[in-house]
Symmetry: C2
Subunit: 409 residues, 2 copies
Amino acid sequence: MSARSSVEEHASFVRSLLSGLGARPTERVAVADALGRITAAPVESPIALPPFRNAQMDGFAVRASDVAGAATAPVTLPVAGEVAAAPGTPAVLAPGTAVRIMTGAQVPEGADAVVPVEDTEPVEDTEPAGGDGGAVRILVARAAGDYVREAGSDLAAGDDVLPPGLKLGSRHLAAAAASGLAELLVRERVRVAVVSTGSELVAPGAELGAGEIPDANGIALAAAVRAAGALVVREARVRDDVERLRAELDAAREAGAELVITSGGISKGAYEVVRELLEPLGAWVGAVAMQPGGPQAAAAYRGMPVIGFPGNPVSAQLSFELFVAPTLRAIAGLPAASVVSLPLAEPLVSVAGRRQFLRGRRDDEGRAVLVGGPGSHLVAALAASDLLIVVPEDVTALAAGEVVEAVEL
Amino acid sequence: MSARSSVEEHASFVRSLLSGLGARPTERVAVADALGRITAAPVESPIALPPFRNAQMDGFAVRASDVAGAATAPVTLPVAGEVAAAPGTPAVLAPGTAVRIMTGAQVPEGADAVVPVEDTEPVEDTEPAGGDGGAVRILVARAAGDYVREAGSDLAAGDDVLPPGLKLGSRHLAAAAASGLAELLVRERVRVAVVSTGSELVAPGAELGAGEIPDANGIALAAAVRAAGALVVREARVRDDVERLRAELDAAREAGAELVITSGGISKGAYEVVRELLEPLGAWVGAVAMQPGGPQAAAAYRGMPVIGFPGNPVSAQLSFELFVAPTLRAIAGLPAASVVSLPLAEPLVSVAGRRQFLRGRRDDEGRAVLVGGPGSHLVAALAASDLLIVVPEDVTALAAGEVVEAVEL
C-alpha cells in the first residue's frame, strides 16, 4: 500500500494540476447577461457621462445673469418654449427669456443655470407656464452651473468606467450600459465535466433493480461546480468499463472541458475503472489521511486535469469542497468557504492519523452538535448538516465544550 | 405639493403592496436544476437510504461467527465468489466460506460482517483470492455488523429527507437524488417585469442621436431583480406615451408578471407617463424624504403591484435596494444587505430633512471615503463605490472620524 498523503500534500498537488486554469480565456457577453461575471480588461467608456449637458431638476433654463435680481425681488421672464428629455438638437435660449425644462433634458445653448420649478411661480395673467407665450416669476437667484449637469461630469469619453478583474454587480452593468456598451469582455467560466462511475448507478428517478442505486454524485458535483462559479459542459454516468471511461474522457475533452471530476473507481477493489485507466498513464491514485474521503486520484489525461473522488457521496462532496472548490471559487471571484470556531455540544472520538470531517449543525446555543455518524454513505445526514467539524490528525477524542473549527456549509 | 413621506412610511407602503407575493405558487423542477431554489413542502424519500445492505469497505463478506477464532490465530476460509457494486440479486454466503466484496456491493445473504482487505492475506498455495477456488486468511476477528451498512441506516423509506422552506444547496440535491427523486416541488420565483420610460432612451450600444442616452436602468434593474432571486419575465423600454405604457403593463400582466418595476415618469414635469397613467387609477405618486430618489410611486394596476422609481439611474438603483429588494430577497431565501458601521475618512454635509445616501468606498484603513458627489446621475461613481453611506434626516454635517452606518454593495 502506498504511503498516505496528508490533506495539505494532496491539496497542493491538485492545486498544481489546476494551476493552468488561472489564465482564463476571454469572451464577449451582452451587458445584460454579464451579472456575476468578471471583467477581463479595463472597460473604457466610448462616450462622456453624461453625454450632454442636462437639467438636474424640472424647472426653467435661464442665464444666471438674467435672474441675479431675484436675490432681492422676483424676476419675471417670458417663457420661450419647453424642452423635454427627448431626442433632438438642443434649443437655443435668447437672452432675457426662460425655457421650461424637464429633468434630464438638454440644457439650451445660451442657458447656464436651471431654476427648479419649486423656486418659481406662474405669472397668473399669462397662460400657464407650460409652453410658448407664458411667463414665469423667478423667486430665487441662481449661479451659473446650478442644477446643470455638465457633459462628462461623471466620466470623460475614453476614461475607464470599470477596472479589470471586477466581479460585475448590477451597478457595474448600469455604468457599462450608460456608457453605451452592448457587450463586455469577461473571463470565460471554467468548463468542467462531471463523470460518475459505477455499474450500480442509475439516473435518479429511474426504477431501481436489485443492487442498483440512484447516482447522487453526478447531480451533487455538477451543482457544486455551478455553485463554485464554473460551467458544467458535460455530465455522464459510465459503468465499470475502462474503454467507456476512456471514450467519455475523450468526449469531455472534445466538448472543451478544462477539468474532469470523477467519482468512484479509485479504491483498492476490483473494477476500479478510474484507477485502471489513469494509473498506467501516470495518475496518482492513493490514500489521503482524511475521513471520509481517503482514496483520492489526480491525473492529467491528454493534458486535461482529471480529479478523482471516491464514490461514496459524502466523500465525493467533501473532496470537492476540499480540493477543487477553492480553486474554482477563487477564479470566479467568489469568497472562500468560511471557517468558524465554536464549542462542541457533545464529546466526540476520532481516528488517529486522519483528519476527520464530521457532519454537524449549530444548535440554538451556538454549539456544534453531531449529525449522523462518521459513515461516508450518510447522504441524508450531510443534507441535514450545516457544519463540517474538523478534527485534526493528532486528536482522537474531544470533550463537550472544547472548541473546534468547522467549515460552514 | 403633497406632503413628503418618510423612507419608513414609503417602505412600509410598498411592503404592503407586495405582501401578496409571499404566498408563492409552487412548481416541479428537475433535481439537477433546483440549486438555490426553495422547497415548497417536506420532501419524503420513497426509498430507504441506503436502499440495501452493502459493504463499507473492499474486503471479504463473512459470518462473524466463522472468523471469531481470528482473535487468537488467523482463520482460513475458502473464497466462494465475488460481488461487485453492480445490479443483480444478492449472492448467498454458505457457512464457513467468504465472498470477496467491493465497497457498496450488496452483502450476501447469510453474511453479517465484512473483513477489510487490509486485515486479510491471500493464501499463497491457492489461486489469488480474486474469485472462486481461492482461499483467504482472515487476520482480525469481526463482530456482526462490522463494515456493513444496513439498509435504512441513513434514512427509512417514507422519512423526510428535506424540510420545507429549505434553500437547496448541492448537498440537498445529493440527498434528493440518492432518494431516487427526479423532481422537487419548489416555490416559484417571483415574476417581475422591468419597464424603462423615457423618449430619450435607446438600447445600450445603439448609436446615439442628439439628446439620446442609453437606457441603463433596464439592465441595472433587471440584473438587480435577478440578484435578488426573482425572475425577469419581461423587459421593455417605452417612450413618453401613456397609451404605450398602458399596453406594456397589460403585456406584462399577460406574461404573468406579479410585479412591475418602472423607472422614470414620476416627477413633477410634463411627460410624466407613469404618473399620468397611474395617478388617476389611485396610485400614490409623491416625494419621499430621501436623496437621491425623492420622487417615488406605488400602485396596483389591475391587481398587479407597480413600483415606480425615478429615472436617474442612481436613484432608480438605490430605490430598488431600499424598497423592493428586501422583500424579494426574503422570498428567495437570500440574506439581507449587510449594514456596517465605520468612521468617515473626510467630513461631509447633507440636506436637512432628507435621508441622504452617499456613495463611498472603504479605504485601506477601514474608513468610508466619498466617491463622486451627491448627484443622482453619477452612475460611474456608483459603480466605483462599495458603500452607501447613510446620513440621517436630522444630520446636516459630519466631521472626519465620526462613525456612520453604510450599506455594503
